[in-house]
Amino acid sequence: MRVQEAAFSPDQLQRSLPAAGAVVTFTGNVRDAGAGGAVDSLQLEHYAGMTEHSLQAIAEEAAARWALAAAHVVHRVGRLDAGEAIVWVGVCAAHRAEAFAACEFIMDALKTRAPFWKKEHGPQGARWVDARASDVARAQRWQLPRTGDADGAPGG
């Protein structure tokens, strides 16, 4: 788990993964348009300390749920330009079903549980990005019948 201001390169991270039968990676890049129009850059705020704790808990949950050889997450904070990579998840497993499921689970959990907030900057000024209901719905797909979710349910 890494939370960093510095830019990273997805291809370099891909190279850093251990050998395994199946490797699934996700790279999220800053889009050049948001709900509020054109986007020149993003300001990524986070809750230092909780961010790392949250990403660690999500990765451990994935490792408890699927047989994985590795699960890495890198997320940027601070200022990012359109087109830059904001998040990268790399999962290795013996078989592809586990690698796909764990990688998508990590992203869905990150989107709803990890304390990051985006502010878009564009020609119209700055605006906070709204959370998407579809992200909550996607995260709920992973809920087990009996949940042992150490992070607790979002609420409060």
């Binding site: 990524l44 904001i86 989107k111 304390p115 979002p154 609420g155 409060g156």
Partner: protein
């Protein structure tokens, strides 16, 4: 003593990033703390009325009923939008 943090849009609305609150017997849960903070003025009342706000205690997501004890770090923030 409780340390309370605010993030993102909520931080801007309140004009406050962090505050320290003397422990009071009545402030024993997230819901109770939220009610107490709402008394700080109309801006606080309105911002904290947002049903979508999330809370964390000691850096773990919490629920309205999550108990608080002196020394806890509590955070309130809008739904997260990372990734």
């Amino acid at each position: 003593m409780l340390r309370v943090l605010f993030f993102a849009r909520l931080r801007e609305q309140l004009g406050c990033e962090a505050l320290e609150l003397a422990s009071e017997p009545g402030i024993d849960s997230i819901a109770a703390l939220r009610a107490a903070l709402s008394e700080r003025g109309p801006v606080w009342k309105e911002a904290l009325a947002d049903a979508n706000l999330l809370a964390a205690v000691n850096k773990s997501l919490a629920e309205p009923g999550t108990p608080l004890v002196s020394g806890d770090e509590v955070a309130f923030f809008p739904p997260v939008t990372g990734g």
